[in-house]
Assembly symmetry: C2
Homo-oligomer: 193 residues x 2
DNA sequence: TGATTTTCTTAACTGAGGTCAATGAAATTA
DNA sequence: TAATTTCATTGACCTCAGTTAAGAAAATCA
């Protein structure tokens, strides 16, 4: 199991000594997903976080038969139904692999149990939660104050590879518009550059 | 100082014995605000939570000379620049009284210091943070998946008194539209009922 | 209260995204 | 590889919010 990158990721938040690795290994497991496979289904409790070693995933929910993609997760990011875990309620969102994926999976309950032994992990948990809050906050402001076109350019700027790796209509869902509108925005963009 | 309602509010989250009141009193203070007065300015660190005994407030930010109202807080709610406190960064948002207000103010640092002595308060802090996260999450989904008109009716349903207490253009900011558009939505609403 | 400023409404126009339908391109599968 | 399905693009048309400007209503203040 290739845990190098997870450790590196966690170390961005908190210092982690080598010895701590040993206490972490038992709560980690590796998971392989096929393209389009649902990793976490709707209606199920969110119990784990998946660090993406390879591949790309999306978090989405379904309302009135229509899907809304909320977030894309790619290499070196954690994908999770965190809201469900926090609420202790079955998740309204699902997580799907959009490419063949390789995940390092961490059980959230196991992580919480480790908090007493390894304070550094406790801190990581809190910082991660806060980071999520901030991310959601920024995103909300973007949706409130920006046009779909502005959001398109922002996404193009921050995650340019998304456009070649993910189907257009998932991106359209993410931007809050119809695939046809995304096509038109792209066309306008081509013409002006 | 009238702290009855704050205590009642906190008790909705966690059981609080009478004796705990004594430890809380020193970190509480009462603040009166005039109409339109800015309680927490932009660019300042978020350091406190204000429980509203009377009045109504708004949380907003300014971008490119334009204001965006993110939330209204009325009686029996806490108003705070919580994101700033969590980020430990000067706030991008400001909080303004939209009516003469009476607040019970709690210093967040003081509250954190109390956590060691009163575990029930620690729990309150966490639950409050989680509640904020959930609220923000729900709101984001509403903005992504609903039209301004749907959001208008939702607000009308959940906080009908807002419309008589708050200026239309603040509500328009909150809904993510122009005051003119809100007028038109209201007109449509009148005609159809 | 009366005067002045601020806010709200209305109208005409523009533009961007939604909808529907058809076609072309790409990915899947046999 | 060919056949089939899925996805992306385009066009025509429609709807609704943005913009600008004007006037009405309401709130503020002297």
């Amino acid at each position: 199991m290739n845990v190098e990158k997870v450790v590196h990721f966690v170390r961005q938040f908190v210092p982690l000594e080598e010895s701590i690795l040993e206490s972490m290994l038992p709560i980690l497991s590796q998971v392989e997903l096929k393209k389009n496979e649902i990793w976490q289904a709707e209606g199920v409790m969110g119990t784990s976080m998946g660090f993406i070693n390879k591949g790309i995933m999306r978090l989405y929910f379904t309302d009135d038969g229509e899907e809304f993609t909320q977030e894309f997760y790619a290499e070196n990011e954690f994908a999770s139904n965190f809201i469900s875990y926090v609420k202790k309620q079955p998740s309204k969102t699902a997580i799907q692999a959009l490419e063949p994926c390789e995940l390092i999976v961490m059980q959230l309950d196991d992580l919480q149990n480790l908090y007493d032994e390894v304070p550094a992990l406790d801190r990581f948990g809190r910082l991660y939660a806060e980071q999520m809050l901030i991310g959601m906050y920024d995103k909300m402001n973007a949706i409130l104050g920006e046009t779909p076109e502005q959001r398109y350019y922002k996404l193009l700027d921050s995650k340019p590879d998304i456009f070649s790796r993910v189907k257009q209509y998932y991106i359209a869902q993410y931007l809050g518009i119809r695939p046809e509108s995304l096509s038109r925005i792209r066309k306008r963009h081509m013409e002006s550059s």
